[in-house]
Amino acid sequence: MAMEGDVGSGLIAIGAGLAVGLTGLGAGMGEKDVGAAAVGAITENPGIFGKAMIFMVIPETIVIFGLVIAIIAIFAM
């Protein structure tokens, strides 16, 4: 773990935080629209839950990437 007390470690921690935070923000913005539409569509036809869920979770992959980058930054650098 690169968690010493120097400036480099601090920058890594900031970078990891930004990676998760910004991707989380992006995913949230994406899911906001998809989720609203999906809930409306499911109310009309509950049979499309699975398809709606697929669309719903597509933007959320980005935050997982952010989390992975953060993990690599903290543990592997």
Partner: protein
């Protein structure tokens, strides 16, 4: 990989005079999925409902109305009734006689309720008028005098003084409002009303009667109390009626619904002047038994003709007549995979010609769930909850969830014990060095035997939050590669069955080559870029092989998918990296558990340096907090691990091969819950 069951099409022809018996026979086979007849096809139109249906519908309506009025719901406990018994009761007019009995009591109840409501309004008006010292008979019976009485929100006393030839009674309290009664000449009524309207006036109907208001109020209250007593006794009668008739109502509702369903079968088949024709799909291995069953019940009055057994090649579907194109899908899954059909059905019903993904979901969904949880402490409640759910629930939604929890829990235990070697966020083996190293050995001050440490990977399990992170990330990527490759291979097998090998290679083979090439290429690139391996020897060969495979794959796939083949290349990498969530979510759970453990043991119990057990009260508080915090992690585990494991099946796996859009196989059969068959009929469920 299992395909849906092979289906055959049969035509059942019979004499119209025995259509009712024929319908009973169709239901007794429990295997005929009728193809809805289109009027005009084969020169025949659809039939009309059986004559008994209209009476049955009328009775069903009455039964449902009675059920609602008496408060008999689907959860009301009732006994089972023999079918013959309920049929006889319905035929002998029990529905009508019960309705007469029930309506008699309900009418009394409704009258009483209405009377009580009227009296309550009277009571309320009288309460308002209590403040006005005027007897009731004085409010009416004038020729040239108008009376306005009602409630006010503000005090109108001063304003009312301006009215000539009038007498006003106002009782007002600042917080509660008040009552005003104005006696005024008829021609001044509008003026009085207009003055009052400015003070939030709301007119009330002065109740009829004589004498002081207080006496009338006492009388009304007495009447209300009497009627409430009567209502109470009537409600007891209604309750007694519910107890008396609930079994009959539920059983007759079920029986009548079944009768109506059966009576509507002619609407789905072709019926002529003397005969009926029904086209139906039957599981291939049941054609003979269905034919034998129908012939044994209807003798010479029925003829069953085998038409075809539909293959999986799409040419067969294209050649078929429009109404026979779609074959219903009857899943052929084992007892466990069956519980996962619900997950598949959330996306779509599989087509007759394609692999049912339920079996893959059965394997991977609990596996991924278990890997993400990866903790013995959380696994055991999952197993118990899942087993309990499977035992008590029959609803398919809950059964599906219970199945995932049960098998996911088992996987979580396996991973948690052997692979990660931890329970409730703490490893079994190791020293006590909070916050990163908190172990059960250290906490309990014991030393676990050698054989115990020997059964765990690496002697003490893999650490989710330490030096093994890179290895775990790689592992999750490898799991993803296998999972995705399986999806591509299933896609290839689907197209091969539907259109032949050549078509399959052109449509899906290119993608498999491209995917494999991408994996090799990415491996070589990571070696060079991240591990600083020189670009020579094996790595060089792998790089070249990867590039060649990707190029070949793109060349083949672009013939069917065009530019999409190139655009999908980054998508493939994205798909693979998407599996890193297996570790990411596991780590987030472990991180939360570690933080909570440190809060409890390190901060509250004061064991941040070494294990020194605190006093009893602190220990109790700490343990309660420990249970609560881990319950929170456990609950979040269901949501995050469950949803992400499902997502990997829906988005990553199924999109590679699953098209869906099939028709569910729904044979003519009935499910009895409240009616039972008598012993003589038990083998011939109809």
């Amino acid at each position: 990989m299992p395909l849906p069951e092979s289906m055959s099409r049969v035509v059942v022809v019979g004499t119209k005079s025995r259509i009712e018996e024929a319908i009973e026979a169709f239901y007794s086979t429990r295997a005929l999925h009728p193809v809805d007849h289109v009027s005009g096809a084969d020169g025949m139109s659809v039939g009309t409902p059986l004559p008994a249906n209209s009476k049955a519908s009328e009775r069903l309506l009455k039964v449902r109305a009675m059920k609602k009025e008496l408060g008999v719901t689907e959860t009301t406990e009732t006994a089972k009734v023999a079918v013959d018994e309920i049929k006889n009761k319905i035929a002998s007019g029990s529905v009508e006689s019960t309705e007469t009995e029930v309506l008699k009591v309900l009418d009394v109840k409704n009258d009483l309720k209405q009377r009580i409501a009227e009296l309550n309004i009277r009571k309320k008006n009288l309460e308002f008028l209590m403040a006005v010292p005027v007897d009731l008979e004085l409010y009416s019976g004038y020729r040239s005098l108008a009376v306005i009485a009602g409630t006010v929100k503000e005090d109108p006393s001063e304003a009312l003084k301006s009215l000539a030839d009038s007498e006003s009674f106002v009782s007002f309290r600042k917080k509660e409002g008040g009552t005003a009664a104005v006696f005024v000449r008829t021609e001044n009524k509008d003026k009085a009303a207009s003055i009052l309207s400015e003070y939030g006036f709301s007119e009330i109907q002065v109740p009829e009667g004589k004498g002081p208001v207080s006496e009338a109020l006492v009388q009304t209250e007495k009447e209300v109390a009497d009627l409430c007593d009567k209502l109470e006794s009537v409600e007891k009668e209604v309750e007694a009626l519910q107890t008396k008739h609930r079994t009959f109502l539920r059983a007759s509702e079920e029986e009548l619904s079944i009768e109506i369903e059966k009576g509507e079968v002619p609407l789905r088949i072709a019926v002529g002047e003397y005969s009926y024709i029904m086209d139906a799909w039957v599981p291939m291995n049941m054609v003979q038994s269905v034919t034998a069953e129908l012939e044994s019940r209807l003798g010479n009055d029925v003829h069953v003709e085998f038409e075809e057994t539909r293959g999986r090649n799409m040419h067969e579907e294209e050649k078929a007549e429009e109404r026979f194109k779609k074959v219903p899908t009857k899943s052929k899954n084992g007892i466990i995979a069956k519980e996962f059909e619900y997950a598949t059905s959330l996306v779509a019903t599989p087509k007759y010609q394609e692999i049912d993904p339920s079996i893959l979901v059965m394997f991977f969904l609990p596996l991924f769930f278990g890997f993400m949880i990866g903790d013995c402490g959380y696994a055991i409640p999952f197993i118990i909850l899942g087993a309990y759910g499977l035992k008590v629930t029959h609803h398919k939604d809950w059964r599906a969830i219970a199945t995932v929890l049960f098998f996911g829990g088992i996987w979580a235990f396996v991973f948690g014990f052997f692979f990660f070697g931890e329970a409730l966020g703490m490893h079994f083996i190791g020293h006590w060095e909070p916050p990163l190293d908190m172990t059960w050995e250290g906490l309990l001050g014991i030393h676990l035997p050698e054989w115990f440490t020997g059964i765990m990977v690496d002697g003490h399990g893999i650490s989710k939050l330490g030096s093994h992170v890179s290895m775990l990330l790689k592992l999750s990527v490898y799991i993803g590669i296998v999972h995705l490759l399986l999806g591509y291979v299933c896609g290839y097998l689907n197209v091969k069955r539907q259109h032949g090998s050549r078509h399959a290679f052109m449509e899906k083979g290119g993608w498999i080559v491209m995917f494999s090439g991408m994996v090799v290429l990415c491996y070589a690139l990571t070696q060079v870029l991240f591990d600083s391996v020189p670009l020579e020897g094996t790595v060089m060969y792998l790089l070249v092989i990867g590039i060649v495979m990707v190029a070949t794959g793109v060349a083949v796939a672009s013939r069917t998918d065009g530019i999409m083949a190139i655009l999908e290349l980054p998508g493939m990498v994205g798909n693979i990296l998407s599996y890193t969530r297996l570790v990411a979510i596991g780590m987030s759970k472990a991180g939360m558990a570690m933080a909570f453990n440190y809060i409890v043991f390190g901060m509250i119990m004061g064991m941040s340096e070494s294990v020194v057990w605190p006093s009893i009260p602190i220990l109790v508080i700490g343990l309660l907090l420990f249970a609560f915090l881990h319950l929170a992690v456990w609950t979040l585990g269901i949501l995050s691990a469950g949803l992400h494991a499902l997502r990997l099946q829906f988005v990553e796996l199924m999109t590679k091969f699953f098209e869906g859009g099939g028709t569910e196989y729904k044979p003519l059969k009935v499910k009895r819950i409240k009616t039972i068959l008598t012993q003589t009929k038990i083998d011939k469920e109809v």
